[in-house]
Symmetry: C2
Subunit: 205 residues, 2 copies
Amino acid sequence: MSETAGLRGSAARRNAILEAAWQLIAERGYHHVRVQDVARICGTSTGTIHYYFPGKDDVLQEALRYCVDQAFERQGAVLRQIDNAHKRLLALIELQLPVGVQVRNEWSIWLQFWSETVLNPALRPIHNDFYTRWMDAVTSIVRRGQRQGIYRDVDVAAFARLLTSATDGAAIKILTGAPDMTVDTMRSLLVSIVEKELTMTPSVV
Amino acid sequence: MSETAGLRGSAARRNAILEAAWQLIAERGYHHVRVQDVARICGTSTGTIHYYFPGKDDVLQEALRYCVDQAFERQGAVLRQIDNAHKRLLALIELQLPVGVQVRNEWSIWLQFWSETVLNPALRPIHNDFYTRWMDAVTSIVRRGQRQGIYRDVDVAAFARLLTSATDGAAIKILTGAPDMTVDTMRSLLVSIVEKELTMTPSVV
DNA sequence: AGTCAATGATCGACGCGTCAGTCAGCCGCG
DNA sequence: CGCGGCTGACTGACGCGTCGATCATTGACT
């Protein structure tokens, strides 16, 4: 018996397909990915792709999930080891800066997922699932900071909305190559939001 | 002689094509728009579309420009009539809230344009052109407010980065149907940024 | 151990729908 | 008649999904 029910073939090959798929989506864009391309990268055939997934859209949708789950898990593993809430929040910000191919590709996926979700409301539940996980991560860190007595007693949800909105907005500017936004600028933008809103002594300049 | 050189056919029909094209892009997404669809809405044929534009991509790219130019012009017309810088900035925020089909569709275009720009660096100049116009609009209003003595002497560029990032981020949440962001929430988020950063007396709660 | 199905996994060529772009000709007006 | 504007049937490419064939592995039975 296979451990997970209803999945044909080997889990290793299945993951290889998803891995190849999301990388391709990130680099070329959802609509420019060919089943043939995924197959070529995996060193397999188009027939095999369809053996594991009913259709192209299924491959790509599962690839999205795969990518997001991976990213969350990676972040979680790092953040759990940091006890101080403020340091943990700064670490979260750091992990989300689009530096390196991996994180940039993940942001590329996000941008595309937004567009697709706007046009196809059927994707909203999936999107909201991911999004809620992110919001929860932020709010739980802030509450921890409040319990630790290092953060002010602000409206946690409102703060999370601000921080996540600014994060998305800043990431867009970097990814699209806006001239006035760099990774350093993004970091200081987000850190200063944290300081202004949460820190006990509003940074005296 | 036609007023603008090198353009075949009537300007009216040309605009009708662009108008139909950008609406379709906003509603269905760039990659789901068929030349046939644009033609049908204009009450014309696919041949005519290709009579006015060399290829599909040219139609869609020009449609994007058309949409953005229109939006800027509409905003400018309203904003120029408001003398007080603070009221003008609030009006700009109001005009950018995704209420109504028109503005929602314009945001839909933006989201798609971001994705496409990330994947295809050739679009960056066009994107940056639009983006710079928006940044300039914000910075000039803030400087006006500083001259009028109603805004503090903050780093104008940094403020513009913050406000525009938050605007983009909030709009994404609304368009994608995130549960915790409504038009009202977005307005208060942006207005409170303006108050906290620019207003002389940091709102005493 | 050796034989032999049976089942699972993989391959790759082909069918068929879709769609951008073309082209030969039509229409109406000056 | 001549020309600018327009038509829409047609073509050719492209890419998804299918399907019969092939290879590998397993496990039952002798």
